[in-house]
Each structure stands twice: as structure tokens, then as C-alpha cells.
């Protein structure tokens, strides 16, 4: 039996269907799992995407030759029957199921098992071989309930308010920011302020009908945004990680900085970034989530791609699953 998916210089390749999954170099046919920069790149001849993921690709990649598919809908590429299934990572994120030569392979892309009000929940797909991410592939990574974390964030904002400080929360502009806004909605009594790089993504999500907390742009004109007059003291501000240490911060007279990411599970990561607070919210599967998912796919062979693959591969091997690691160019941002 040959491998349905192989690693080539351009990316993960399916010879039976003559297409690539999330390629990192230009190819004729690409099937994308989601819109993050390390998975969705320009320069492909044709893009296959989930319907829910289309607006994100249009925002990030502009006008392209898109082929849109509903979750679970089977389409044919070469000799392969292909379908996309929810991965629960960000809006429109998908796992790719490939059936050819009597085998079924699933490429997970990035995924998580925690509930997320901004996207369809992960759906386990039975398969022979499962190619899984393992960004957080160690048992120290176990995620707390996101609603609890949202409550902590609001509590932090209120502590900042007492001290006359703005609460600047860094988070990735696509996915994490919107999920936070959705989780925060039940707990906030006033708008959350957004850095420009985040506002665009929030707009895409709003148009897709996702319910999120009320937001306002960070604008300095005090007549348009009253909070600007006080340097946004006591307000929660979402900004991309790239804004940390930039001139953009100068408008906040006094501020605390927090970071929302699965990496914040470790104090060392928070301190290295010089953050006052770390909030553990991840769009990737935690350790129990990885193990549970492998189990639910029924796969007899597992290939771990990006992240700390070593521990996951060894743990699966000790449990009797044929497991190996595969080098890719996907990042570990969260």
C-alpha cells in the first residue's frame, strides 16, 4: 500500500488526486484547511475551500479561482474522492478526508476540541491514516474552560480600571480575537476596543453572522471616541502581537499588557514576552484532545506534523498505534 499523502518540496501532496493540501509553494491545485498565513498562501492556480472559510480567504488572499464546498460534500479530484469536515479551529476550518485506492486518509489541519462559538465543532472522521497537528503535544497542556478565562479577562480589565490603566490584550487577529469577543459577550457591559489589524477580521466574522461583543476602533479623536480622552483607561483593547513594543502603544498613557494563547500555560513564556498577564485560550487541541481525537478516528496509523511531535509519537507507539513524525512548514502560532 502506498501513501495517499506524501511530503514534497511544495507541501503535502496527494498523487491520486494530483492536488496539494496547504502548500507552501505555488502549485496548480490546492485544498486549504483554513485561512491562517502558514496554511493559505497566494500563487496557487485553483483553491478548494469550505464555504464557511471563503470570506476569510477572500479577505486574506483577494480574488482567486475558488472552488467552494459544503462540509461533508464529496467532490472528485483525479482518482480521489475528497470531502471537507469541520476542524473547530477557526471560522471555516476544515479537515480533508481523502478516499482512494481503497484507503481513507484524513489531514486534520489545525484543530481543537473545545467548544468555540465562532465555528462549527470538530467532527471525528473515521480513517485508516490520520495526519494530525501536535502544536501542544505534551501533557502539561490542558485547557481551562474558555468562559472562565473570559471572566478572568473582564476581572483584569476592572483591576486595570481601578489603577487608571488600559488593559491591552494581545491575540492573533484571525480566529483568536473573534473567539475572545464571542466568549466575552455575556460578561462585558461596554465596548471592547480594537486595533486596526483586528477590526478587519471582526468585520468578516460579523458579516458571517457570528455574535460577538460590541466593538469600537482605537481612534484618537476624543470627539469620536470618548475613551481616547483618558488614554483608554479602564478599557479592554485587543491588538495583534506585532503591536507589542510598537509606537502604536504610545497613546495609552498607562497600560497593562496581557496575551491570550495556549503558550501562556507556561509562566516562562509569559515572562519572556514581558506580559503582565497570560490568559490560556488556545485554538489548538490540548494533550487530552490530541489523544482523544486519535482514538475517535480509529486510525491505525498516525502521522504527526507540526509542533512537539516527539512525545505524541512515542506515546501513541507505546499504545500500539503506528505513529511517525513528518516535517512541515506550518507554524506554531496560537
Amino acid at each position: 500500500m502506498h501513501d495517499l499523502v506524501q511530503r514534497r518540496a511544495e507541501g503535502l501532496y496527494c498523487p491520486a488526486g494530483r492536488f496539494y493540501i496547504d502548500p507552501w509553494r505555488p502549485v496548480a491545485t490546492a485544498v486549504l484547511t483554513h485561512g491562517h498565513g502558514d496554511h493559505a498562501r497566494t500563487g496557487m492556480g485553483r483553491y478548494h475551500t469550505s464555504a464557511a472559510g471563503l470570506p476569510i480567504l477572500q479577505w486574506r488572499l483577494g480574488q482567486q479561482d475558488y472552488r467552494v464546498h459544503g462540509y461533508g460534500e464529496v467532490f472528485t479530484l483525479g482518482d480521489a474522492r475528497v470531502s471537507l469536515h469541520p476542524a473547530g479551529h477557526v471560522l471555516g476550518s476544515a479537515q480533508v478526508r481523502i478516499e482512494a485506492d481503497g484507503q481513507v486518509w484524513v489531514v486534520s489541519g489545525d484543530y481543537k476540541r473545545q467548544p468555540d462559538p465562532t465555528c462549527a465543532p470538530f467532527e471525528p472522521v473515521l480513517c485508516d491514516t490520520f495526519i494530525t497537528e501536535s502544536t501542544f503535544g505534551l501533557p502539561i497542556y490542558r485547557w481551562p474552560d474558555a468562559a472562565e478565562v473570559a471572566r478572568d479577562i473582564v476581572q483584569w480589565r476592572d483591576q486595570c480600571a481601578v489603577r487608571g490603566e488600559a488593559a491591552i490584550l494581545y491575540c492573533y487577529a484571525l480566529g483568536k480575537a473573534q473567539r475572545l469577543l464571542a466568549e466575552l459577550k455575556p460578561f462585558v457591559d461596554r465596548p471592547v476596543y480594537l486595533h486596526g489589524a483586528i477590526a478587519a477580521g471582526v468585520e468578516v466574522y460579523r458579516r458571517a453572522g457570528i455574535d460577538m461583543a460590541d466593538t469600537r476602533p482605537v481612534i484618537d479623536a476624543a470627539d469620536a471616541v470618548p475613551a481616547a480622552a483618558t488614554g483608554f483607561a479602564g478599557e479592554l483593547v485587543l491588538a495583534p502581537p506585532s503591536a507589542a513594543g510598537s509606537a502604536w502603544l504610545r497613546r495609552f498613557r498607562k497600560a497593562q499588557q496581557g496575551f491570550a494563547s495556549g503558550w501562556m500555560r507556561l509562566r516562562g513564556n509569559r515572562r519572556r514576552r514581558n506580559m503582565d498577564r497570560g490568559f490560556v485560550v488556545s485554538d489548538h487541541a490540548d494533550w487530552p484532545g490530541l489523544l482523544r481525537t486519535v482514538r475517535e478516528t480509529g486510525a491505525r496509523r498516525v502521522i504527526a506534523t507540526h509542533g512537539d511531535t516527539h512525545a505524541l509519537v512515542r506515546t501513541l507507539a507505546e499504545a500500539g498505534v503506528a505513529a511517525e513524525a513528518l516535517e512541515t512548514q506550518y507554524g506554531e502560532d496560537d
Binding site: 501533557p139 519572556r272 514581558n274 503582565d276 507505546e318
Partner: protein, 534 residues
């Protein structure tokens, strides 16, 4: 425990000194005295579990957590490699309790739960620790583990704790610092005495907090006239306070350890003085009638020996070179000027000439220029450069900039090849920041030095990425990397050593710069380093 965990969290989160101090003040003001005494003990670096009072060893903790969390032992180790902090690793691996156990105060945890099982069978100790893990939520579990593994590492200096106590009680910080020196038992009584405004009998038994010099980074001419300064050689020995009170002698190292018994020749000289005093100076190994000290490695053979026999006393005789007089005949002299204290010190020691307890001589350069010239000969003299002390300054406590400077000679340097890397601790726990370097011997690279510092954050990240991609082998937390990166290392000295595989031991190695321009073949040879050894 909740209160102490909350304090720990506040200290851990805050990067501002003022906020930390405020959190400490609030804690010591509000906490029950019994808890506060133990908190002080822990913040000051005190340990619950030690060799003599074993509650849990680090190896045991790893094994216990593996069993308690159903995690393979190798996976516990892999987790620890990533986290870099054992206490935190343990806290992360144990599942969150379904229901929190009833609250217990910090002192209760220590005195009622942990200490009673100290030195008992492993089974008993494990039961107590695992039961605690099962009942404590994450924040408290973390602090609990920090107590077991020994150090809080929360960015709070001894001085900051003392400042908080001084602010809260109104007792001068110098007195608090003095009362906290040495060994003490954490109890409400100790805390009461510590913050007492009265003179206490115990105050007379303690050494004074050491005044520490800062490295001189500017040109010495910026310090003003050379006449305003006392210039001394900077010795490479053990800084110590020699206390003679009521005829009894005690010797304290600057690490606040009592050295009594280790250096009987110095104690004998002090006993012979005939007058009570407190001297600040340097312990050095120094052969009889020799012009200069023996290398630090000779002194090192003496440090560990509680009661050195005649062989050691003859092979590495130790003397104290005194450079300050802090107390004479029961009177605290620290507020006097440096020059006046020096004058009294000279008068005292001239009355009692004894090579085992003698003056650290003054160098009297006519100008800074002459001083700079003299300083060039430091290495031949076996010293590290100069100490500069402002003539009119009092004896202060801790590292206060301005009146005491160490003006050290430029370090020796070698170009060495990076061989191994290991992850760091604290802020750098998720990065590989502890490096081992080697030099050429024939066509092999021999490890000669470990260095932890000297790169900036950007370089650390860059090197971290590089070495993850160029790992040859992993031994637990250590990675052997392709031997291609060259670094210029600085160090203070090098001694021949039988204990080191390379045959040499370097003192205070650190990275000066990353030699991107240099191929590994052009790194230095081991012989070059050996030629520098004393």
C-alpha cells in the same frame, strides 16, 4: 494557603518593584503572624525540605507525579524539559481537583502536614504530598510545590522583603537585615523580635549586612580626585566578617554562612587580638612568606573541610586580609567615614602584628593614570584589579551604587565552539540558554566552560532556533549540537585542575560575543588556555 498563593501570584505577575513591595506590605500586615513568619522564611530563600529534613526529593516528586497523573516517567521528564521548572511541571501534570480541600493556613501546612512526615518512609511522605496535590487548585498547588522543591524564584530580593518590613514597622532596614542574617526559626516570636524597636540581646550576636561594590563602568576620572578615594587590591578570595565579641570569635561568609571551625588559624589570630571588634575582609590561601596569594583553587580545597587536619593547614594556609573595621570595643563604627575606619583598623592591627590576620594594603596612586598603570600588573599579583572606596563614605548595606566600586581588569578571552545546550530557568525556561563550549585538542573538541549569559534576547532566540534544527543527539534535557558556532568567551582566571577532564578550570566564564565571522576550525586550542593557567 490561599493568601500566600495570592501573594505569590501577585509577585510573579508584577514587573514593577513598587507593586511588589506594596503586595508584600499588605501581606505582612494582614496575614496571621504564624503564616507571615513562614512566608518570610520562604521569601528569604529558606527551604522546607533539605538533606537533614527530607520531605520530598526531586527524583521522588517526579516518580510520584508520574504515578499520580498516570503519565509515563519519560513523559514527565519531557514535560519538565519544556517547562524548565519542576514545581510548575508538577502543578501542570496533576489533574485539577473535583472539589477543593478545606482551607489550611501556610504555617499549618508546613508544621502540621509536611514537617511531621519529614525523614519518614517514602510511602508516608508520598501519601501526604499526593493527597495535597489532589485537594489544591492550580495556584496553590504551584506554591505548595515551590515550597517542596526549595526556591520560590519570584523576582523578590531579600532587600525588597526587608524594605517592605521596614516600611510596615518603622524599624530601620539595616537592623532588620542584621536580625535576619544566619539561621533562625520561623515563628511568631521571631517575627515580633525582628520588628521590635527595642535593642535585643540577640542583636549583639549577629554580623552586619555586607556592603557590596558595583562594577565600575565609567572612566575612573569621572569619580573625581583620586585623593577622595581609598584604593585597594581586589582579592580573589572569600569575603568574610570576623566577629570577636566578649572574647568569642565567629566567622561569617558573605553568603551568610558561618565558617566557624573551617579556618582555625584566622580564629586563633582573632582570639589573640585582646579586644572585641568586627572586621570585614578577604580570606585567602597564602603560603608563609609568599609575596602573593595561592590561586583560588587552593582556597577551595579548604572551604569544604569542617576541621582541617595539619596536612591541609600546611598545604593551603589561610589568612584574612582585613580592609574595614565595623565595630570596636562594642561600638558600631559604620557611620564613620571610610578613611576614619581605615585609620582605626590600621592602629588596631599594628598593635597586634600577625600574618594570619593582617591589613589589606592601600595602594596610593598619585593619579588615576598611575592607578591604571598599576592595575595592568594585577594578574601577575594574583588580584582581580582594584577596589575604589570613597574616603568620606559610611559603611552601607547591600549593593548601593556610588561609594564602593570594583575596577576589575579586562577578562581573558578565548574563542570556543558551542558543543551542548540545555534549557534555562525562570524567564528563559522554554529556551536553550545554558551552553557548554569546547576548545581543540588535536582534532577533537574538549569541553572547557559553561556559560549562561552574555547574549541579548534576540541572539538567544536566534541561537535557540538554530540549535533546535542542528541537534545531533539528545541526552535528557541536553542537546549535542553541530560544532560550528564560535563564541568569544571572557573569564576572570584559569587554574589547572585535576577534577576537570580538560585539565583546567575557568573562573566566571561568560559570552562576550557571537563570532559569526569565525569558522569552528579557527577556534582556540586547549593548549592556549592552559598556557594562561596559574
Amino acid at each position: 494557603m490561599k493568601r500566600f498563593a495570592a501573594l505569590y501570584q501577585e509577585l510573579d505577575r508584577s514587573t514593577a518593584t513598587l507593586d511588589k513591595r506594596a503586595a508584600l506590605v499588605a501581606y505582612f500586615r494582614d496575614a496571621p503572624p504564624h503564616d507571615a513568619a513562614w512566608a518570610l522564611y520562604l521569601l528569604a530563600g529558606g527551604k522546607i525540605s533539605s538533606a537533614r529534613r527530607k520531605v520530598a526529593g526531586t527524583g521522588e516528586l517526579r516518580a510520584w507525579v508520574a504515578a499520580a497523573s498516570d503519565t509515563a516517567p519519560w513523559l514527565v521528564d519531557a514535560s519538565y524539559d519544556q517547562v524548565g521548572d519542576l514545581a510548575e511541571t508538577l502543578a501542570l501534570l496533576v489533574p485539577e481537583p473535583q472539589r477543593a480541600a478545606p482551607e489550611r493556613g501556610l504555617a499549618d501546612w508546613i508544621e502540621e502536614v509536611l514537617l511531621p512526615v519529614a525523614n519518614r518512609d517514602e510511602v508516608e511522605r508520598r501519601e501526604v504530598v499526593v493527597a495535597a496535590w489532589r485537594g489544591l487548585p492550580f495556584d496553590e498547588r504551584l506554591v505548595f510545590n515551590k515550597m517542596l522543591t526549595g526556591s520560590l524564584r519570584v523576582g523578590v530580593s531579600q532587600r525588597m522583603v526587608q524594605q517592605a518590613l521596614a516600611e510596615m514597622s518603622g524599624v530601620p532596614i539595616a537592623r532588620i537585615a542584621q536580625r535576619m542574617l544566619g539561621t533562625w526559626t520561623p515563628s511568631p516570636d521571631f517575627l515580633r523580635d525582628l520588628l521590635s524597636e527595642q535593642d535585643l540581646p540577640g542583636d549583639r550576636q549577629q554580623p552586619y549586612p555586607f556592603f557590596l561594590a558595583s562594577p565600575l563602568e565609567a572612566e575612573p576620572a569621572s569619580l573625581g580626585a583620586v585623593d577622595d578615594w581609598l584604593v585597594e587590591w581586589k582579592w580573589d578570595g572569600i569575603r568574610a566578617q570576623l566577629i570577636r565579641r566578649h572574647g568569642e570569635v565567629a566567622l561569617w561568609s558573605r553568603g551568610e554562612e558561618r565558617l566557624d571551625g573551617r579556618f582555625p588559624e584566622v580564629e586563633a589570630a582573632a582570639a589573640a587580638l585582646g579586644v572585641d571588634c568586627v572586621l570585614d575582609g578577604e580570606l585567602l590561601a597564602w603560603g608563609e612568606d609568599a609575596a602573593g596569594p595561592l590561586p583560588f583553587s587552593a582556597l577551595q580545597t579548604r572551604i569544604q573541610r569542617l576541621k582541617p587536619g595539619p596536612k591541609w593547614l600546611a598545604e593551603a594556609p589561610v589568612r584574612m586580609l582585613a580592609y574595614d573595621l565595623l565595630e570596636l570595643g562594642g561600638t558600631d563604627l559604620r557611620e564613620l567615614s571610610q578613611a576614619e575606619r581605615r585609620r582605626r583598623l590600621e592602629a588596631l592591627l599594628q598593635r597586634h602584628p600577625d600574618p594570619r590576620l593582617c591589613l589589606s594594603p592601600l595602594v596610593r596612586p598619585a593619579s588615576w593614570q598611575e592607578a591604571a598603570t598599576l592595575r595592568e600588573a594585577s594578574r601577575e599579583r594574583g588580584v582581580e584589579g582594584f577596589m575604589l572606596k570613597r574616603a568620606r563614605a559610611p559603611y552601607q548595606s547591600g549593593r548601593r551604587r556610588g561609594d564602593w566600586w570594583k575596577w576589575k581588569i579586562d577578562p581573558l578571552t578565548i574563542d570556543a565552539v558551542l558543543l551542548y545546550a540545555q534549557s534555562g530557568h525562570g524567564r528563559r525556561s522554554t529556551l536553550y540558554t545554558d551552553y557548554t563550549f569546547g576548545l581543540w585538542q588535536g582534532d577533537a573538541l574538549v569541553p572547557v566552560a559553561k556559560a549562561y549569559s552574555g547574549l541579548d534576547d534576540k541572539e538567544i532566540l536566534q541561537l535557540d532556533r538554530w540549535l533546535r534544527a542542528h541537534t545531533r543527539e539528545r541526552y535528557g534535557p541536553v542537546r549535542a549540537v553541530d560544532p560550528v558556532q564560535v563564541f568569544e568567551l571572557g573569564f576572570e582566571g584559569v587554574n589547572l585542575s585535576k577534577r576537570h577532564k580538560s585539565g583546567v578550570a575557568v573562573r566566571f566564564p561568560r559570552i562576550l560575543r557571537w563570532r559569526h565571522d569565525k569558522p569552528a576550525e579557527e577556534a582556540d586550542r586547549l593548549d592556549t588556555l592552559k598556557a594562561l593557567a596559574r
